[in-house]
């Protein structure tokens, strides 16, 4: 028995991958289906038929609207819903079916909510509210070759010319542009049909769309096709701001950002203030300009435009990002704060109201008005030393999205900055997660649906999912801030069903000093043991992220480094399976390193060395091998295996032929590696040695200066900065450091004088101004940025360096927790 209420209409071409999911999600039996196939070469039409759809065949004439319009007159239902094959229902279908019959007859069009997933994380989505639902046989039809627009040809004979105020519902396929952020936009805009610009009410239906996730799309064709169509449109209707806008979007998708900016700019000049797509246009233009590093233009654009859209959180958020780039941190903070007040009211309104209208249906990136804004504010607060405030803001962000990894990581980081013990950090994070678990209560299942739309299977009650998700974030947050032991402990906990990739686990084990466990894990995953054993151990700890074909891929370069380090740290040589799994270009390097470290014992011929190179001779390695060697040393430092790192670095450096390596030069560049990873005191000691023995280069001088500055020795720091500038006048960080030192010195002088003559009011006024300017100067990015796990290493080292100095052949750092 046919349901007379609602019919689904879509056009397809080679969509066999998504079509089942789409059709499945509309579980309602007996909905009318019209699927217009414009020339599939795969199983699409057959699949459609198995679901009981009416399949129409049409010839593709480079005209989306024409194709869509074919099925519209054939509807026998009251309402029509237009879809794309890569969309599916998240929630609200039942509600919609109960609500629809009661919709007043004057309302002929309804909006729905679409979540466009563009990234892997649950927060990587953009929300739009296009009109997709309309009454059949009321004059609705589509127009436009591409970005086809829904218009209503009313019987009063109004012309249905395409005016600039119309908009589109075309959604975009994915592109590969690595310029990322800007390109992930959706031009799914809303329709404005009535002359007096009333906005259609919103229906409770929520769809998901992930047609352009990188992992799920065939690359490149759709944008190129779109480009062709748009250019045709522009040829027919030149200087149409709407087409120009869409041209810009397509250019983004193809990665031509300069041209995208031009197109957007052109569109902005021509578009009317009331144009419904204008807000999104401004946002897209701002993002493209930012990606092109044209910050001043973006700044001016947003200064002018933020007024027009005070409730558009995305604009304020981007404005904040640009201001931050320009060093204007206080203004950036205010911009983020404005974004946060826009809130997720759209979202709430939409869900809570059902049939109520919303006034500003912006295309917005999820969280722009809530957790993203809070997280940005927290980051700035933390930078300025307002740690308590930062904690509060991160927690606020998490209230809105308890699985937001950025916020968890930030929270752990700032807690570490406050010198809270790892134990307490862990407790605090778990406690917070528990709170979320409780407060979310019964509508948790809904929340989970929104949070992880890509999770097709619900392997348990929603609450459980949430708990697991949060645990995973907490584990990563703990590891991220350097609390490896606790992260691992949590991972091995009784209730944990969290899946963490082996590579990550390996690294954490190494960092935590549990080298024997690390070695076992590595060998289990990649070594030559029997498959069974591997399947047993690995399946519980490896999660497959995407690649379906090879469940046990070769280790990536960092994982190789970790594996090797695990071997060496537990006193073992590299196994043959290790060498087998490394690319040929690197094998020599590994062998040599292996020999250098474990000693020159000629036995233990587990493998046949291809090249026997005595130490005295210089090695000629390919670039790749050298790079891999550098990676390895870096990795060693990152995992805290300093002894190994130092030995390797020095020995390798001596025998590599690339550069003229004096002792001092070796020490200097090693110190550089240490410094960048937070071992500042250790590095400083080495740098001082270098300085006393000879000349230190500008970078080294700067680092020393920075360490002194951090300890408050302004005059010495200043002297070092200026010495660095003598060698390298363009060294901006040193120059900024010098300027800040001068200001600080001036401030100190004033403070001293205030003690002597408290009535000098002129000096008091200057003091206030100087303090303010020093705060503003925090916005200049001259300091080396350290995160929690590097901060831990600042004072590490006196004991470690002793060990390094005193070591002979006693290389391995034995795993006490073995």
């Amino acid at each position: 028995m046919q349901n007379r209420l609602l019919g689904i209409h879509m056009i397809v071409q080679n969509e066999e991958q998504y079509l089942p999911r789409c059709l499945d999600s509309f579980k309602q039996a007996g909905l009318e289906w019209f699927i217009t196939d414009t020339g599939s070469s795969d199983q699409t039409p057959e699949i459609a038929r198995t679901y009981g759809a009416t399949v129409l065949h049409a010839r593709w004439e480079d005209d989306f609207a024409k194709a869509r319009n074919i099925s519209l007159p054939l509807a026998t239902t009251e309402w029509i819903l237009c879809l794309d094959a890569d969309e599916y229902v998240i929630e609200g279908l039942e509600e919609l079916m109960t609500v629809l019959p009661g919709v007043h007859k004057s309302i002929t069009g309804l909006r729905i909510t679409i979540e466009n997933q563009y990234g892997e994380g649950p927060e990587d989505k953009i929300l739009s509210h296009p009109v997709r639902l309309f009454r059949a046989h009321h004059g609705y039809r589509y127009t436009g070759r591409i970005h086809e627009q829904l218009i209503c040809q009313v019987t009063t004979g109004q012309s249905s010319d395409i005016t600039p105020n119309q908009s589109t519902r075309e959604t975009y396929a994915e592109w590969d542009s690595p310029q990322a952020s800007t390109a992930k936009e959706l031009a799914d805009v809303y329709i404005d049909i009535n002359a007096d610009e009333e906005v259609e009410p919103i229906a409770p239906l929520r769809l998901g769309h992930d047609g352009y996730l990188a992992t799920m799309i065939a690359k490149g064709d759709k944008p190129k096709r779109n480009l062709r169509l748009i250019e045709r449109e522009l040829a027919d209707h030149p200087a149409q701001p709407f087409h120009l806008y869409n041209l810009g979007v397509t250019r983004c998708q193809l990665g031509d950002l300069e041209q995208a900016a031009e197109a957007f700019g052109g569109s902005l000049k021509l578009s009317e203030l009331q144009a419904p797509y204008r807000a999104t246009l401004v946002k897209d233009l701002a993002k493209v300009l930012a990606a092109l590093e044209r910050y001043e233009e973006a700044h001016m654009l947003l200064t002018a435009e933020c007024h027009h859209y005070p409730a558009y959180a995305d604009l304020h958020l981007i404005y904040g990002e640009i201001l931050e780039r320009q060093g204007l941190e206080e203004r950036a903070y205010r911009a983020y704060a404005r974004a946060s007040t826009c809130g997720s009211r759209q979202d709430d309104q939409v869900r809570a109201s059902g049939g109520k209208a919303i006034t500003e249906p912006y295309v917005t990136e999820a969280g722009s008005g809530s957790y993203r804004a809070y997280t940005s504010m927290a980051r700035l607060a933390q930078k300025r030393g307002f740690e308590q405030e930062a904690v509060r803001l991160y927690e606020l962000a998490l209230e809105h999205l308890p699985t937001y990894r950025t916020a968890w990581m930030g929270l752990a980081d700032v807690l570490q900055q406050q010198a809270i013990s790892d134990e307490q950090i862990t407790d605090r994070l778990l406690h917070l997660a528990n709170q979320f678990n409780e407060t979310l209560g019964t509508d948790c299942a809904d929340k989970m649906n929104q949070l992880c739309p890509s999770l097709e299977k619900k392997t348990g009650p929603g609450r459980m999912q949430l708990k697991i998700q949060m645990q995973m974030q907490i584990i990563y947050a703990l590891a991220g801030c350097g609390a490896y032991k606790h992260a691992l402990h949590l991972l091995r906990g009784e209730t944990s069903n969290v899946h963490i990739p082996a590579g990550d686990q390996l690294h954490w084990l190494l960092c935590a000093g549990q080298v024997t466990d690390a070695w076992h894990l590595a060998e289990d995953c990649w070594g030559e043991r029997d498959r069974e054993r591997r399947e047993r151990t690995c399946s519980s700890s490896i999660s497959v992220t995407g690649a379906q074909d090879d469940p046990y891929p070769s280790p990536r370069v960092e994982e190789r480094s970790d594996w090797a380090l695990a071997c060496w740290a537990s006193g073992r040589r590299l196994s043959s399976s290790f060498l087998a799994k490394s690319p040929a270009a690197e094998r020599d390097m590994w062998k040599v390193a292996d020999r250098l470290l474990i000693g020159h014992t000629p036995s233990v011929a587990a493998f046949t060395p291809v090249q026997e190179v005595p130490d005295g001779q210089l090695l000629q390695w390919s670039e790749h091998a050298q790079w891999a060697a550098k990676q390895m040393v870096t990795r060693a430092i990152q995992s805290g295996q300093l002894v190994i790192a130092k030995q390797l670095y020095e020995r390798l450096a001596r025998i590599m032929s690339e550069r003229d390596r004096t002792e001092m030069a070796i020490r200097r560049s090693y110190a550089g590696l240490l410094y960048r990873h937070g071992y500042t005191m250790m590095a400083a000691e080495m740098l001082i040695q270098c300085m006393t023995e000879g000349e230190l280069d500008a970078e080294g001088l700067f680092w020393l200066g920075e360490t002194l500055y951090a300890k408050g020795h302004l005059e010495q720091a200043l002297s070092l900065f200026e010495q660095a500038l003598e060698r390298e006048p363009e060294f901006s960080q040193a120059r900024a450091g010098a300027a800040v030192c001068y200001l600080q010195l001036a401030l100190d002088l004033i403070v001293q004088e205030q003690k002597r003559s408290p009535e000098a009011s002129v000096l008091a006024a200057q003091q206030i101004v100087l303090e303010q300017q020093l705060r503003t100067a925090d916005g200049i990015p001259w300091r080396t940025v350290y995160h929690a796990k590097e901060r831990r290493n600042h004072y590490a080292g006196t004991s470690a360096s002793e060990t390094a100095e005193s070591d002979a052949a006693n290389l391995p750092v034995h795993d006490r927790e073995g």
């Binding site: 002297s719 363009e730 120059r735 002597r756 000096l763 916005g779």
Partner: protein, 659 residues
């Protein structure tokens, strides 16, 4: 103050009556010398009673009353008779211009009833802020008052004068008394609030104003608008911006034409982080202009003050052109105003447009006199726009007398010193020295300093300049270095400091005997200022090492002064009253100043701070211009140059408000 007050009314009035409430100085004599009748009155904490005593003796038809720290303006003198002759009113309002602070902030203008018909019923009421209007209206309910444009200048609240007379404390005392006696009188609370605000007690002022506000009806109370404005200012002072904004909006509903409120609205909006609204309000205030005469206003509201504030706001927006326009308007509204010039020059220097300064000055400002030009030169120097100053100087006609030419040469030389072009400076100074005019000694001193800086110390050994000697001492002896903050604490260290200082002082004494310091320009470009100018020169020429050396030396000296002062104070305390004061300036004791003014540590700190800030500014400037040289035609700046420009515009420096 009394003489100028009495002078100002000579000829304008027929009779002068001075009520003396118990002066111990020559006030009575002065009054009599000016032909005034002196009435003695025992002070009883009641201003009204005192004035009334004078009124009793008045024989004229009209009465003008003034305070001793006021003066009638010249034009008013001529007009006063005509006004009183034609006016059928019972009272006339004049405008009082109150000068506060240094005088650069302008004046507040109040219309006040100061001229009224002489009648037995017309007597003052009120212990403080005595009023006459009430009595006039009592006698004649139909009484009418005229508002004239005659001006009275009131200097009594200028900082120095206030301190001398301790006026404020007296007022406070009287008002507190009045409030206790008549707690229902809003006027007392209001006046009390005003006094509190004057001394910066914003909380208490707010309290008083709040009480007053509750008691009045804003529609009929003449000072209601002022009360609200002051309340707003209290809230601003306490940084309670949201409340301030709320109050301003409420007040504007009652008094939409009161420009001062609109100006303050802008201030609040800006503080709350809404510069757009602030700009709107400022432009609105300008559009409305100064408020109608019935309002008590601050001079410049709706004109130059508002323009200046707008300029600062536009600077914050990085709209430098708009800012310049605003500043020009400010000067147009009040030609004696200097702070806008400071901002313009700083802005242009910071944005790399120093070369255009002289043309901007010529095109947008008209300077008719040499005096004006000299002032502008001074400002350019203070804003560190040396090239522009030199350019302007060149265009000045060369002086007629030798002395003028020498002055100019010296001025140029000092500019070159600050620019870091010491060789040019030396050339000019040599010329001046050779002429052996009155400026020759100063030139000689500077030549010594420059020699020392250049490291050519051996050439002239006649060494008379104190500063150079002091510098030499520091670089020769290693002991000087011990006198730092890391120095050994306690007595031992201090004794060392003292001993060294004494040595230095001895040299100074010798210098005193030989040299001639008695020139008109003895203090100019000397002492700490000389050090400051040398610092500037080092910064501009990139001699960082020398800069550090000079700063170090300066800091040493500050510490020396400090430690010997402490020593002397200790000594004083232990010896009771018996302290021998040596014949040196300032701190005395056995500390001989290495150069005159050395013990003025605030000044010293100030100059050192200036040097340090300039060094920072120099580095920041290079950060911004760094990349421009790399690829000509393609300007690639750091993305964070806006924050750098912001800092450079806001760093402490000369801004024209220093007294």
């Amino acid at each position: 103050m009394l003489p100028s007050c009495l002078e100002s009314v000579r000829g304008a009035v027929d009779e002068i009556i001075v009520v003396d409430t118990g002066s111990s100085d020559r006030s009575k004599a002065i009054a009599q010398e000016h032909g005034a009748m002196v009435v003695d009155f025992t002070w009883c904490d009641d201003f009204a009673a005192a004035r009334n005593a004078g009124l009793e003796r008045a024989s004229g038809d009209w009465i003008l009353f003034l305070d001793a720290d006021e003066a009638l303006e010249a034009t008013a003198r001529e007009q006063i008779r005509s006004w009183t002759a034609v006016s059928g009113c019972d009272g006339l309002f004049l405008n009082i211009h109150n000068y506060t602070g240094s005088g650069q902030q302008g004046a507040t203008v109040n219309p006040v009833l100061r001229l009224f018909r002489n009648a037995p019923e017309h007597r003052f009421k009120g212990r403080i802020h005595e009023q006459i209007a009430a009595a006039i209206c009592e006698r004649n309910p139909e009484a009418a008052f005229h508002i004239t444009d005659m001006v009275i200048h009131h200097y009594g609240y200028q900082t120095v004068v206030v301190e001398r007379k301790d006026k404020v404390n007296r007022n406070l005392r009287l008002l507190q008394q009045a409030v206790v006696e008549e707690p229902e009188q809003p006027f007392h609370h209001y006046n009390l609030g005003v006094e509190y605000l004057r001394v910066g007690e914003a909380e208490q002022a707010l309290d008083s104003f709040g009480k007053a506000r509750k008691m009045i009806d804003p529609a009929v109370t003449s000072y209601a608008h002022l009360l609200l404005k002051y309340e707003v200012r209290c809230l601003e002072h306490l940084q309670r911006w949201q409340e301030a904004l709320g109050l301003v909006d409420a007040a504007l509903e009652l008094f939409p034409e009161y420009t001062d409120l609109i100006h303050h609205r802008a201030i609040c909006a800006d503080a709350l982080g809404d510069p757009e609204a602030a700009e709107k309000s400022l432009r609105e205030a300008i559009r409305q202009g100064p408020p109608p005469a019935i309002f008590h206003t601050e001079e410049g509201m709706g004109t130059y003050q508002t323009w200046y504030t707008l300029g600062r706001l536009l600077e914050g927006k990085a709209d430098l052109e708009g800012a310049v326009d605003a500043y020009v308007e400010a000067v147009r509204a009040k030609s004696s105003l200097l702070p806008p010039l400071y901002r313009i020059f700083r802005m242009m220097r910071v944005s790399g447009q120093e070369r255009q300064i002289s043309s901007v000055v010529k095109s947008r400002f008209s300077m008719h006199s040499e005096e004006a030009l000299t002032k502008v030169l001074g400002i350019l120097e203070q804003c560190h726009c040396y090239d522009a100053a030199l350019e302007l100087l060149e265009q000045m006609p060369s002086g007629s007398s030798g002395e003028q030419r020498e002055k100019r040469s010296v001025a140029e030389a000092i500019l070159h010193v600050q620019r870091g072009d010491w060789s040019t400076a030396r050339l000019k100074l040599e010329t001046v020295k050779r002429k052996k005019g009155s400026l020759a000694p100063m030139a000689a001193r500077w030549l010594e300093r420059l020699q020392w800086l250049d490291g050519k110390e051996e050439q002239e050994t006649s060494g008379q300049d104190e500063v150079t000697l002091w510098l030499k001492k520091g670089s020769h002896t290693g002991e000087g270095r011990e006198i730092t903050s890391d120095a050994e604490p306690g007595l031992a260290g201090r004794w060392k400091a003292v001993a060294e200082a004494r040595d230095r002082g001895v040299i100074r004494n010798e210098a005193r005997l030989e040299g001639t310091t008695a020139s008109d320009y003895g203090g100019l470009y000397d002492g700490w200022q000389a050090l400051g100018l040398m610092l500037e020169g080092c910064v501009q020429s990139g001699r960082w090492q020398d800069l550090h050396g000079l700063i170090h030396r300066g800091r040493q000296l500050l510490v020396e002064v400090d430690s010997t002062t402490e020593r002397r104070l200790e000594q004083e305390n232990s010896q009771g009253e018996q302290v021998e004061r040596e014949i040196t300036d300032a701190k005395g004791g056995w500390f001989r100043e290495p150069f005159s003014g050395a013990s003025d540590t605030p000044a010293g700190t100030s100059w050192l701070v200036k040097g340090l800030v300039r060094a920072a500014d120099c580095h920041l400037a290079q950060l911004v211009s760094d990349r421009e040289q790399m690829e000509p035609g393609k300007r690639q700046r750091h993305s964070y140059w806006p924050v750098i420009q912001r800092i450079r515009l806001e760093l402490p420096g000369a801004d024209g408000f220093e007294g």
